[in-house]
């Protein structure tokens, strides 16, 4: 498989509340994302995984290190948003404008990318079909949809610009286990049908087996362990991973 994104020694430091103190949110992270893979990033709150996501999509700039896109289809200055990585946020209630209808929410990236409103609306139905939702939802407001539906809508919005990389930042943490399983299933099938890569960020180690191709375990802004999901789960190397695994197992 070919490499989509190279993350090399990326750090992100913030000034702390005390003068002279720095907070190392991301501290020298290096990894490669490949085409058409699901890469899971595991860590507890404060481990820097969400900052890493924001660095990759460009909402924040790294303090040092480089992010290199090795994708031919991608224009260097992002003049066309087509291959721009897309981020799906943790809380669907905060990631959608409550005053907007689903139709407008789903097509927002297309319309901002210059697509005429009528054409964007016409495609909205197909976008919802991709995430297995009925077109009836298009005329509704977010508060009229369930949590699982809202996360699917957020995924549909991200898909509207056919991204090469979808970043899912704890997108199931507000959902029930069975809805969570449905969303994971959806992401798996989208990976195949859309041919995109997914960076899946979570604190729930138990959800990634059978789902993610590779996994990185993060703590305090650094990657402790990285490898094929099955081998990391079967034979964890770092003490932290072992502890994490033990916390979710009941024997």
């Amino acid at each position: 498989m070919s490499v989509l994104l190279q993350v090399e020694n990326v750090t992100k430091h913030y000034a702390g509340s005390v003068k002279g103190q720095t907070i190392r949110a991301v501290d020298g992270v290096t990894f490669e994302l490949e085409h058409n893979e699901i890469f899971a990033c595991i860590g507890e709150s404060g481990s820097g995984k969400s900052t890493l996501a924001e660095l990759i999509v460009g909402l924040q700039q790294p303090t040092s290190g480089t992010l290199t896109w090795l994708d031919d289809a991608r224009a260097p200055h992002m003049s066309k948003p087509t291959s721009q990585p897309q981020l799906v946020f943790q809380n669907p209630d905060r990631s959608m404008n409550p005053y907007w209808r689903i139709r407008d929410i789903v097509t927002e990236p297309m319309r901002l990318g210059g697509c005429p409103k009528r054409q964007a609306y016409a495609e909205a139905e197909q976008l919802l079909a991709k995430v297995k939702l009925s077109a009836d939802l298009l005329g509704r407001y977010p508060h009229e949809c369930s949590g699982g539906q809202k996360q699917r809508i957020a995924i549909a919005r991200a898909l509207s610009v056919s991204p090469k990389l979808l970043i899912a930042d704890e997108i199931t943490s507000a959902l029930d286990p069975s809805t969570e399983a449905e969303i994971l299933q959806l992401l798996l099938s989208l990976k195949q049908s859309e041919g995109m890569s997914i960076l899946y960020i979570t604190h729930r180690l138990e959800t990634i087996s059978g789902f993610a191709d590779r996994v990185a375990v993060m703590k305090n802004g650094a990657i402790l362990e990285m490898g094929e999901t099955d081998s990391v789960l079967a034979d964890p190397q770092s003490a932290y991973t072992i502890e994490l695994l033990r916390a979710v197992q009941y024997s």
Binding site: L59, M96, N97, E108, E206, L233, V248
Partner: protein, 532 residues
């Protein structure tokens, strides 16, 4: 569609009437407002509907022309002030670069005494209508601008703004399409309040004689009336003072009514829905039963909506029962009903804790919270009062001890049980980590040695490793003290691990045994890794 409350409707009608008066009135009146052809101080008649004033001007004509001036000044000043506060508030809230400039400008204007400023400007410029409009418009924006800025500051942290930035939406687009709808209600209120203030200000300035003597306004009519002693020598004050004063009063009251916001929000209206058959089935349960919790034919309804379908189960002394289900399955409602936290009229059936009825028909329940049963809520941060020390909250909950020394000793003992030191008693909740707070909450639940513990997702807000520690501690303490534990959770592997009995709720209904077996089998497939 906006639904209006009755007070807003009255406001709309009154404002509408006055606006009509301003538009149509001058066409009805044959007299010019400033002509002095008629006799002085004439009482109301067919030719002069509201009589004439001291210098023989027709009062009706002056009143309706004055309405035009007054409403025009109000609308324009309110418009300028509203546009300024919205535009500057949006910009200051959203743009980090403009904020210091705009905010300090607003602070400066807020500090200046605006009435004094308006007086100075008005008296220097002679106080024409436009001078007044501009002065009022340019000086009265900072208050609401600060309000709008504050709400934008918090709104821009929401992820849909980040998403729009990610899709390369321009600042103008984000401000107008995403943020403006949120401050719509503020804008409406601001406009109405400014309108009212501008009218009041115009009337006051005219009344003290500032302004162009050739224009007619309600305030000027009052000033005319009050400045001449003849007004009060006869009945003339009745038609010289009452009409403009009433007009000013009406418009300010109407605008105040319009600006009044009604309280919105859906309230559950719990309705009494008791069937006779249920009342008959109550007496079967004996108090000497070994079960710590008895739930019999319990149904919870909010109005016509059934949250929990009739359900019966018991938890034995020293036993652990888990209520498992997805969000919205009714498990938390069930737990709250058992602890007596649901209004009595919404609950049907019998619930007994430690032999005490939780819901009695007419008298308060004899079940003592904290003593017979304790309830642990999901987020420990929300369970402790942030402005009280942990110690004070312990002492408040303690029912068995009477003296301060006993209370302190018991609190320390409870804290030691959950591996927390004595110093925690003098600390505030924000000084403790999430895991420590969870432990403190468990200690608080243990301190009265209740027979029953109800725990609603007790570890939901914690990181995985801390979560496991706290969970294990909770289970160990429950077993040590032989308490009955009712655990509400959606963590099925954990529930399977510790429980004597599992009850699966789905849409308010308890699954039958076969359905439950199937549900458990399916969930094992969801997370193959944890089901070892």
């Amino acid at each position: 569609m906006m639904r209006l409350s009755w007070s807003q409707r009255i406001g709309v009608i009154l404002v509408g009437l006055l606006v009509c008066l301003a538009i149509v009135g001058p066409m009805l009146s044959s007299q010019s407002p400033s002509s002095i052809e008629a006799d002085r101080l004439l009482p109301p008649s067919a030719s002069h509907w509201l009589g004439t004033n001291v210098i023989g001007q027709d009062i009706f004509s002056r009143l309706v022309h004055g309405a035009r001036t007054t409403l025009f000044i109000g609308v324009m000043a309110a418009g300028i002030s509203t546009v300024l506060s919205v535009a500057l508030g949006l910009l200051a809230g959203y743009s980090k670069r403009l904020d210091p400039i705009l905010n300090s400008l607003a602070n400066m204007l807020l500090v200046l005494p605006s009435l004094l400023l308006i007086l100075i400007v008005a008296s220097f410029t002679g106080g024409g209508n436009w001078q007044l409009i501009l002065t009022l418009g340019l000086l009265t924006w900072p208050g609401f601008m600060k309000l709008i800025r504050a709400s934008i500051l918090s709104l821009k942290e929401r992820e849909f703004i980040k998403a729009a930035q990610l899709y390369q939406g321009k600042t103008g687009y984000i401000l107008s399409r995403h943020l403006l709808p949120f401050i719509g209600p503020l804008v409406r209120t601001k406009f109405i309040l400014s309108f009212r203030d501008a009218i009041a200000m115009e009337a006051s300035l005219s009344f003290i004689g500032i302004g162009d003597p050739n224009t007619v306004s309600w305030g000027r009519m009052l000033q005319d009336a009050f400045s001449r002693t003849q007004t009060f020598m006869t009945n003339a004050w009745l038609w010289m003072i009452v009409p403009p004063a009433a007009a000013i009063l009406l418009i300010t009251v109407a605008l105040a009514l319009l600006g009044e916001s009604k309280s919105t929000g859906n309230r559950f209206t719990a309705k009494l829905r008791r069937k006779a058959s249920h009342a008959a089935a109550v007496n079967v349960v004996g108090t000497e039963d070994a079960s710590a919790v008895i739930v019999q034919d319990v149904q919870v309804m909010y109005g016509a909506k059934t949250i929990v379908q009739p359900i019966s189960f018991t938890v034995k002394q020293g036993g652990i029962t888990s209520l498992v289900g997805e969000s919205g399955s009714g498990k938390t409602t069930m737990a709250r009903a058992i602890y007596g936290l649901v209004p009595q009229q919404s609950v049907e059936g019998t619930i007994k804790i430690n032999g005490h009825d939780v819901y009695m028909q007419d008298e308060p329940s004899t079940m003592q919270r904290w003593v017979d049963a304790a309830y642990i809520f999901q987020d420990p941060r929300n369970s402790f009062n942030p402005i009280m020390t942990i110690g004070r909250q312990f002492y408040e909950a303690m029912k068995l001890q009477t003296t301060m020394e006993d209370k302190r000793a018991a609190a320390v003992a409870a804290l030691v049980e959950v591996q927390l030191g004595e110093h925690v008693l003098t600390q505030y909740p924000h000084q403790l980590s999430g895991g420590m707070l969870s432990r403190a909450l468990i200690a608080l639940a243990l301190v009265n040695k209740p027979k029953v513990l109800i725990a609603d997702e007790p570890t939901g807000a914690l990181d995985p490793i801390v979560k496991r520690e706290v969970f294990d501690l909770l289970v160990r303490k429950v077993k040590e003290h032989r308490m009955a534990l009712l655990l509400i959770t959606h963590d099925l592997p954990a529930a399977l691990h510790i429980s004597d009995e599992i009850i699966v709720l789905q849409e308010g209904r308890r699954l039958s045994n076969e359905q439950q077996e199937q549900y458990l089998r399916q969930s094992k497939q969801l997370y193959p890794h944890t089901a070892e």
